[in-house]
């Protein structure tokens, strides 16, 4: 075996790449994980994780310099002082917006597994069936039963805390003990039961924060500083979970600063033989060879790699023979919901910062409900006490005011929606060869938008939020609905979808590229529809399932 030859190549080191590396190395494959950005070492490189709020010069805020340097990141909360180094540099890695698309990326070992929201929900069977039922896009080639055991498998390793709520819309997983609702949330949950009698539910969030020690990881310490990196390894990330497991096999090589520019396709064997890498530090080009390639570069960058590969056979790239590569861009649309104040409970507080909230699973267009749009949405939210006594009219300055700000404020409760986006063929990404990134590589151009179905759904998301909060006894409810743009959910999906037919899909039911059976794409790119649940748990399950299949096929000499 030459120095650059491995059994398997994994492109990307985020949630799905980490899983691919773990599964493949544990099954005995010598594997190289290629990461385009820098290395981040667990704990050691979480430079801000143990800082107190007052130690940040601007207390976590954003400076004008940061706003100038990050023209995309500034569009939402990710631009902040506390974990700026975890976000991709917008200026080094630009992209073209034919229509506005907010693309928030993490280019480093661990990818966005370091900054993710950690909410982890299984899909239900109907989520896999709806495309077929609605006559939308193409049918998923798999059903819940195909993924069920893999959901359990990844949950048991990742460590998902949650309550077994027994809901048909949101299958229970193999959970660690759930986090607790606070006193106000418990009462709201009770009122939900009385009012909606099970038609709508209000449950504790299911999150990839461990609540009991697990695999040398310490249980969650309720710091709610997850996105700085966790010194306790309490939330699932590549660094805390999959990377140490993969490294322990002795079969893993990690190569940071490795931008995969193309998959090397062999037209005689109709398989990939390896990848070409541009070293991001030296600009040198290298080739790496392997029997199988897992593409986990994050949805749109995985598709970018395919678009740049095998262009001598297919001008639009590997997987483009279906005409679907780059199409069906999806995300979850959000920034719509409601909030209000809760009367009473003034002698009650909580202690600790819970890195989790409550969840209201989808109820629309289910069980006989029929709206003027299809699919639906869920909500995340929670109740908390406001910091200090504002609204104290006669104490606005001076000693009395100073005392008043130390008092706990009133209780507030808010919920925000996450809506399903349909897979529209015309919502697409393409290569723009006229614009180059820092390394001279062509960039992606985005041409995707929310359409009528999503915009109608948003009205329900706003009105339902108000109606439910008011029904639950929340007062002074205000609603909001803003930024109807794709990307802000940071749940990019589609552009290399799975399907049953090579004429209408890029991947088969095992995440194999139809046109190169030893190439597997198992990140968000593979998604055939979006559902409204946070997607990462499904990527984990798809990846573990595909890796298992890949190794079996390899043993049978089928790939």
């Amino acid at each position: 075996m030459s120095a650059n030859t491995y059994d398997a190549i994994v492109i990307g080191s985020g949630i799905s790449g980490g899983w691919a590396a773990k599964e493949l190395t544990e099954k005995g494959l010598k594997t190289i994980m290629l990461e385009r950005g820098r290395n981040i070492e667990h704990i050691k490189d979480y430079v801000n994780a143990n800082k107190d709020p007052w130690e940040f010069p601007h207390r976590g805020g954003r400076t004008q310099k940061m706003i100038e340097d990050y023209p995309v990141l500034k569009r939402d909360y990710p631009l902040n002082e506390t974990n700026l180094d975890f976000w991709a540099n917008d200026k080094e890695s630009p992209y073209v917006e034919k229509k506005r698309f907010d693309w928030f990326r993490g280019y480093h070992v661990g990818g966005r597994s370091l900054m993710w929201g950690r909410q982890s929900y299984r899909w239900a069977d109907f989520n896999f069936e709806e495309n077929l039922k609605d006559g939308i896009a193409v049918d998923w080639p798999i059903r819940y039963k195909d993924l069920e055991q893999w959901y359990g498998y990844v949950e048991r390793f990742a460590g998902i805390s949650g309550n077994k709520d027994g809901l048909a819309v949101l299958p229970d997983g193999d959970f660690m003990p759930p986090m607790d609702m606070n006193i106000v949330e418990k009462d709201v949950a009770k009122r939900f039961k009385d009012i909606y009698k099970g038609a709508r539910s209000f449950v504790i969030g299911r999150t990839a924060n461990i609540t009991v020690p697990h695999n040398n990881r310490t249980n969650c310490q309720y710091r709610n500083k997850c996105w700085l990196g966790c010194p306790f390894g309490a939330y699932f990330s590549t660094q805390s979970a999959t990377l140490p497991a993969a490294a322990a096999t002795g079969n893993l090589t990690v190569r940071p600063w490795s931008i995969v520019t193309k998959i090397l396709y062999d037209k005689d064997t109709k398989k990939a033989k390896g990848v070409e890498v541009l070293d991001a530090e030296t600009n040198q080009t290298y080739e790496f060879f392997a029997k199988i390639v897992f593409v986990n570069a994050s949805a749109f960058n995985s598709t970018w790699i395919l678009m740049n590969s095998a262009t001598d056979i297919w001008p639009d790239g590997l997987g483009s023979s279906s005409g679907e590569l780059g199409h069906n861009v999806m995300d979850h649309h959000l920034n719509v919901g409601a909030g209000g104040t809760v009367e009473g409970y003034l002698d009650k507080y909580y202690f600790g910062r819970r890195a989790n909230g409550i969840y209201i699973p989808r109820y629309r267009n289910l069980n006989g409900d029929k709206r003027d749009y299809i699919r639906g949405f869920g909500y995340q939210g929670g109740a908390s006490r406001d910091g200090w006594g504002k609204n104290v009219a006669e104490m606005n300055i001076g000693g009395a005011f100073k005392d008043a700000v130390t008092e706990a404020g009133i209780w507030e409760m808010g919920i925000g929606g996450f809506g399903e986006t349909l897979p529209y063929h015309e919502n697409k990404i393409t290569l723009d060869k006229t614009v180059k990134d820092k390394w001279g590589l062509p960039v992606l151009a985005f041409d995707a938008e929310l359409k009528d179905n999503e915009l109608k759904m948003r009205k329900d998301m706003e009105n339902d939020a108000k109606e439910m909060l008011e029904a639950a006894g929340v007062k002074n409810v205000h609603t909001y609905s803003s930024n109807p743009y794709l990307g802000r959910g940071i749940h990019e999906m589609g552009t290399a979808r799975m399907g049953r037919d090579p004429k209408t899909s890029v991947l088969n039911g095992w995440n194999q590229v139809w046109d190169a059976k030893n190439v597997f794409v198992t990140d968000g790119a593979a998604m055939t529809s979006a559902a409204c649940q946070n997607p990462s748990l499904t990527y984990m399950a798809l990846t573990a399932r595909a890796a298992n299949y890949a190794v079996e096929e390899l043993k049978k000499n089928n790939i």
């Binding site: 207390r59 310490q221 003034l346 009650k348 202690f351 819970r354």
Partner: protein, 186 residues
């Protein structure tokens, strides 16, 4: 428990208070060197005195003791865009003129009572007119920016978070129900 103490100590070692470069002026006041805006020592004094009036020294430390004015200046310098900075500077002059026309003195030379009644009057008339820091009128833009940053500085200061409220870097637990004293204002 040991682990939590260890983490806390590590944090104390790693973190140092970040102070702005500063020097002393002829009157012995600290003058902060700013990068993007220029404020002479009278202007800096005005901001410091407003901050001290909002969060005064009582039986506990006040704005100046806690170096809140330095933080307010840092935020004005780094976190506001050019347009807002210009408006705030304009508002500072207008604020100064308003005080002078009323008392024939600088804000810094007013008694504590005069300062408090001036700011209270200012706030109530601004609230009646529904003016705030996003207001187009520069005097309100100035005052509410100073107030917002002063209160933010106070409520996120080490003193406040460790001595006035319960804060732990590593809580280690989530207690869903902790009884507290009823709100005085409720």
């Amino acid at each position: 428990m040991n682990r939590r103490i260890a983490i806390r100590n590590m944090a104390l070692l790693l973190g140092g208070t970040v102070l702005l470069p500063s020097c002393l002026n002829s009157k012995g006041n600290k003058v902060v060197q700013l990068k993007h805006i220029t404020l002479d020592d009278d202007q800096q004094t005005l901001i410091a005195e407003i901050a001290e009036t909002i969060i005064p020294k009582t039986s506990t430390p006040g704005a100046k003791d806690l170096k809140l004015p330095e933080f307010v200046l840092l935020m004005l310098d780094d976190c506001y865009n050019k347009k807002d900075q210009l408006q705030i500077l304009e508002g500072l002059t207008a604020f100064n003129n308003l005080v002078k026309s009323k008392f024939n003195k600088d804000f810094a030379n007013l008694s504590i009572k005069e300062r408090e009644s001036f700011l209270n009057d200012f706030e109530s008339s601004a609230k009646q007119a529904q003016k705030n820091s996003k207001s187009t009128d520069s005097i309100n833009a100035f005052y509410w920016a100073i107030k917002q940053q002063t209160v933010f500085a106070y409520t996120t200061s080490q003193y406040f978070m460790t001595k006035q409220i319960v804060y732990e870097l590593v809580p280690g637990r989530y207690n869903v129900h902790v009884p507290v004293k009823k709100l005085k204002s409720a």
